[in-house]
């Protein structure tokens, strides 16, 4: 490695490591001891329902909350547990934007440089550069109240990036926006963060957002990380029931495996699913898109209860029996009407079986 090489303009931020990081409030544990490694430049999404501890974890990394013990958080190997947020050099983006209403868009973006006593000309140049980056040059002199929600969040992002933070922390940044804008901005933010190559921790309860933005996703449940992996693995190989349900739609077929076959009773026919393995009571899971139409022989038959058109695909609610309702995605050019009996099969490679008690 050539140590004399000039600094590249794109910074990659610091790596983040937590060791047995935990937090309790008044005797209630909101974050159980958590080990986390985020390499420099990676975007980690903390995904989970409200109260799962994702925001607490983010605030601990930010320095807005104090961990239960010493030396639990490191940036680039340096213990920052005792460093207050003012000195930790982290960029923060909040759900409420948290923009200063008494300042213009440009003044907001330049605020971190101003309190750092960066000379005026340099500050203004840097502010302009960041406003250009988020596409807000024309709005520089506008009051915050005079720009839209999406523009506010881009201002907040530019303000956080202006201080060249070691890590960027985003707490549900898109939750206050309407659906269309949210979808557009999550693409923009994802691109921007990658362009910056900054280490980022992004909190959300929206799985689509998590998939779009995260290099990796940590799904959290009740103060613990249930699974941490790349989006594909989280989706296709969920570690447990909770992750399977929280990310995407999961179908379940319960039954008993005998001689490697799961008997499914439904409608007029009975299908056997070849799953192999020892005899056991089990629940098999599969995603809606793992279903495909099949000839009646050996396939599962189900009565279509409802269809929803999604454009490229359509989602069917199909009843195998009164206890077993499934959601199946089929190409939208297949003609299906409610009440119809449909024969389908499941891609064996897409079947997931969790270890459950017999």
């Amino acid at each position: 490695m050539n140590t004399h090489a000039p600094m590249v303009t794109t910074r990659s931020g610091a790596s983040i490591a937590t060791r047995r990081l935990s937090k309790s409030f008044n005797g209630t544990t909101v974050l159980h001891p958590t080990d986390l490694e985020i390499p420099a430049g990676q975007i980690l999404v903390l995904l989970g329902p409200s109260g799962c501890g994702k925001t607490t974890l983010l605030r601990l990394i930010a320095g807005l909350e104090q961990p239960d013990g010493p030396d639990m958080i490191r940036f680039d190997g340096e213990d920052v547990s005792g460093v207050p947020i003012e000195k930790r050099n982290v960029g923060m983006v909040f759900q409420s934007y948290a923009l200063f209403p008494n300042m213009t868009v440009a003044e907001n973006v330049g605020y971190g440089l101003k309190v750092r006593k960066v000379e005026r000309a340099q500050r203004e140049a840097e502010t302009r550069r960041l406003l250009a980056l988020v596409g807000l040059e024309e709005y520089a002199d506008r009051r915050i109240s005079a720009v839209s929600g999406g523009q506010r969040q881009r201002t907040a992002l530019a303000r956080a990036l202006a201080i060249k933070p070691r890590v960027l922390l985003l707490d549900e940044p898109l939750a206050a926006l309407d659906a269309v804008l949210r979808e557009r901005l999550r693409v923009e933010i994802g691109l921007l963060l990658r362009e910056f190559g900054i280490t980022a921790v992004y909190v959300t309860h929206d799985q689509a957002e998590a998939m779009a933005i995260g290099d990796r996703i940590a799904v959290m449940e009740k103060g613990r990380i249930a699974q941490i992996d790349v989006p594909k693995e989280i989706y296709h190989r969920p570690a447990n029931d909770f992750v399977a349900d929280f990310v995407g739609t999961m179908n379940r077929i319960a039954g008993r495996v005998e001689n490697g076959l799961l008997n499914i009773h439904g409608g007029e026919t009975m299908a056997r699913l070849n799953v192999g393995g020892p005899d056991r009571a089990t629940t098999l899971c599969f995603r809606p898109e793992a279903a495909r139409l099949a000839s009646a022989n050996g396939a599962i038959s189900a009565r279509v209860a409802a269809t929803t058109f999604f454009g490229a695909t359509q989602r069917l609610v199909a009843e195998v029996s009164s206890e077993c309702r499934l959601q199946l995605d089929l190409p939208s050019n297949v003609s299906v009407t409610p009440g119809q009996i449909l024969a389908f099969e499941i891609d064996p490679a897409a079947i997931i079986e969790f270890q459950t008690e017999a």
Partner: protein, 270 residues
Amino acid sequence: MNSRRFDFFLILPLAIFTLAFLILPVARLIAEAGSGPQGLAGFLVILTEARFRNSLIVTLLLAIVTTVATLAVATIAAQTLANRRFTGRGLLLSMLTFPLAFPGVVVGFMIILFGGRLGLVGSVTKSLVGTNVVFAYSLFGLFLGYLYFSVPRVLLTILAAAEKLDPSLVEAARSLGASPFAIQRDVVLPALFPAMYTGGALCFATAMGAFGTAFTLATNIDVVPLLIYTEFTLATNASMAAAISIALGLITWAALAIARNRAMRDVKGG
């Protein structure tokens, strides 16, 4: 009923009130002020005669100092009360509303109990250093009385604003590296400014015009409300009393207008 006539009926009570209690009496007051030996030139006497002029200056200074002190105490206390939860907080808040109903006379009486000839401070200092410290009957006593009167009112106004302040604003400023001083200057105070204006205006107007406390404490204080009273009752100089009243009203009104103007400019678009 068409909407213009309906609007007229909606505004009618306020119109009657304004006419009966504002326009007519003030017009009468102006007429009265002009009826003195010097006519409308009586207004100039307020400025030319030292007794009146000094009284105006003293009152104005007292009102300004009271307002500044009240805002300082109330703004600091409001932020602390808004951001911290501690046992006794509810009790403290309800105790603060307790003196709201006290008339000025009672406030004056309490200042006498505190700093009067037989007051708490006097008896303590007498037993400690041998001198009976008395300040109740001075401008300082009046200042304390107004402070006692104004702090709870202003505090509750600013507290409401401080509780509405989005905590992530302060967190965002901290993450950007702002010092506590910079956060106060750039984030918190601008957000509290409208409430500080409202509270400060209330406090200023009270300190300019309050009579009861001044009357209770007054031995050697010559604030404007007392001057009006003296001119009206003792000197039976109704025209002079009227002229000073109008001057008092105008000064207070102008001060509040300037402050409001500033406040609106500062929060414009906020």
